[in-house]
Symmetry: C2
Amino acid sequence: MEGSMFSERIQRLSGSLIREILAAAQRPGVISFAGGLPAADRLPELDWHAAPRALAQYGTSEGEPGLRAKLAAQVSALGLPCAAEQVLVLTGSQQTLDLAAKLFVDPGTPVLVEQPTYLAALQVFRLFGADCLGVPLTPRGIDLAAFEARLQARRPALAYLIPTFQNPSGARYDEATRDAVAALLDRYEVPLLEDEPYRELSFDGKTATPIAARLNKAPWIYTGTLSKVLAPGLRDAFLVASPELFPYLVKLKQAADLHSCRHAQWQAEQWLGSERLAEHVDRLIGFYRERRDTMQAALERHFADLADWNTPEGGLFFWLRLKRRVDTRTLLPAALEADVAFMPGEPFFAEPDDGIGHLRLNFSHAPDARIDEGIARLAAILRAGGA
Amino acid sequence: MEGSMFSERIQRLSGSLIREILAAAQRPGVISFAGGLPAADRLPELDWHAAPRALAQYGTSEGEPGLRAKLAAQVSALGLPCAAEQVLVLTGSQQTLDLAAKLFVDPGTPVLVEQPTYLAALQVFRLFGADCLGVPLTPRGIDLAAFEARLQARRPALAYLIPTFQNPSGARYDEATRDAVAALLDRYEVPLLEDEPYRELSFDGKTATPIAARLNKAPWIYTGTLSKVLAPGLRDAFLVASPELFPYLVKLKQAADLHSCRHAQWQAEQWLGSERLAEHVDRLIGFYRERRDTMQAALERHFADLADWNTPEGGLFFWLRLKRRVDTRTLLPAALEADVAFMPGEPFFAEPDDGIGHLRLNFSHAPDARIDEGIARLAAILRAGGA
């Protein structure tokens, strides 16, 4: 600890590992499976010529009325009925994590998370002092017996779930699990934070109603982003919340940054609900499905004896479980030395030691022609490292 | 308190008064002196046609390299030598308050503030549990004896100062006060947060080196924004920090929203350091100076027997001290009823009861032709209310 100059939470401030990996991954020549970046050559052309001059003025903390209406329509179409007044526009869905942590988390507050879960969510909840309680995942969703046991043993202030193409595991909750999770959250009256950045990137065209829509009693926040389907550089994202939470979230948003960039909001409004966006997402899905297939083939070639995995039906990641329990964090320097980057799986676990021998591989960003080479290099490093 | 569902800090979450005033002030027909909005017809035309497609991709938490370099040059030109690597691009300078509160403030942490000070800063510091210690202001800056007494009695974790055209008081620290404040912060080793949104809006052309540049030992954060000179809707703002603070602030920014909108950053980069921006700011200053003069004349006409004030040499506000001690919060409903909005002064004080009988009047937003009428209406309401 750097001494008493800082707040108590600063001793829990992390983030350097990912920052270092991503920085290293941007070196020319590195084949990167580390981040979750869209393919650079699949970014849309944004047309700004009709942006109104009036956008230069201050806006409202809630967001642009037209964008809120379109987001409400989109969320309602998923089966989660929602009015424009329930939509809060944000700067990245990362901001949902910040606002939710402020709303629910004090030092020592129990927060239920999937095991593994989104690394940056763990970081934010912990920064605010959360005691993150991991519940194992299956490919069909969270382990229901373990989930109920956790709810019973110590009522968490919040359950953080990523039910569709979960990051990092790729898991997709099936209908029965969604219903059961909603019933349990209702029974124990535990608020839900449902995070769905990858929902639209479905390779088999299947979709499922959000868990939030299945709740009768528990408060909820549902959050999504345009970063995976349009342009992450804009930082367009949103949350929708049940009425007992929404007013607090608006005030917390106002305290955080007053409001999000109005020009970025206007740009999002031009795309949302349009034929143009539907076509763009269709092309994107086809493109990412091909890369998924390329990586699947490469893994079968080079990793069959090293790891087990499920072929992801959406999202941007393969999630590998090594047959031999090697801490993949120790292999990172050698990988970067060989100009290939990956994301160690251990930090995605509330208790990293529970996750020894996992790694996450992104298939959207590295050029198709280099995927096999990168996977081969990675396999060689794992073998040399004892995996 | 809504019960144990929320974090402990939520009982300190405020903000509804301002939100209500600003919402009411936007009703058609209302003459608003309440907010701090630029004049709508003075917003610049933004040219987007050359925005690179690559901006659609994720960016870095620190901000766009080109923008950071230009901001570093601008800050260095003020006399605060600064490298691009010390600049963090933000979503509104409000975000500086959020990040600084996260870095320094636990429940009970003493934070030194001017009395009065920026209302939204009080709200953020309090949200994180700060014990805000007010030190009186004079037109030349903070009261030095009271300042030192505060530093001596209970060492604050942070001193939050707005030395140039302070919001709400309009005070401008003179050279001697800036030097003395820096020497005291050095002596007591108290970190400085120096907030300068209004620096460029100087009606007499005078300027002064930031206090941060006068420190030899104390850590510091210096923050500025393009919202007052370019386009608040873009949310372009920044902080510069001393090396022992900067790495923490970057990680806190990453945890808050990964990074700010890249298109807004690109737009700022096109303007910063340009002849075009210099000309725009010159015109803006001329325009605001005229409105300042119009309001000064109106106040002399209608308020001479009601209040005392100093004519502001920059910024966007008059700060009135009523001759009779009336709580201006109680007058707000009658004012809004009469279609005139103002900002009660009491909430700008760490202890609102210390500030009974103050109000803030913005002169940048209401049309010049309606200022006299609005001030006359306000005077009538004050008289009716006992002022």
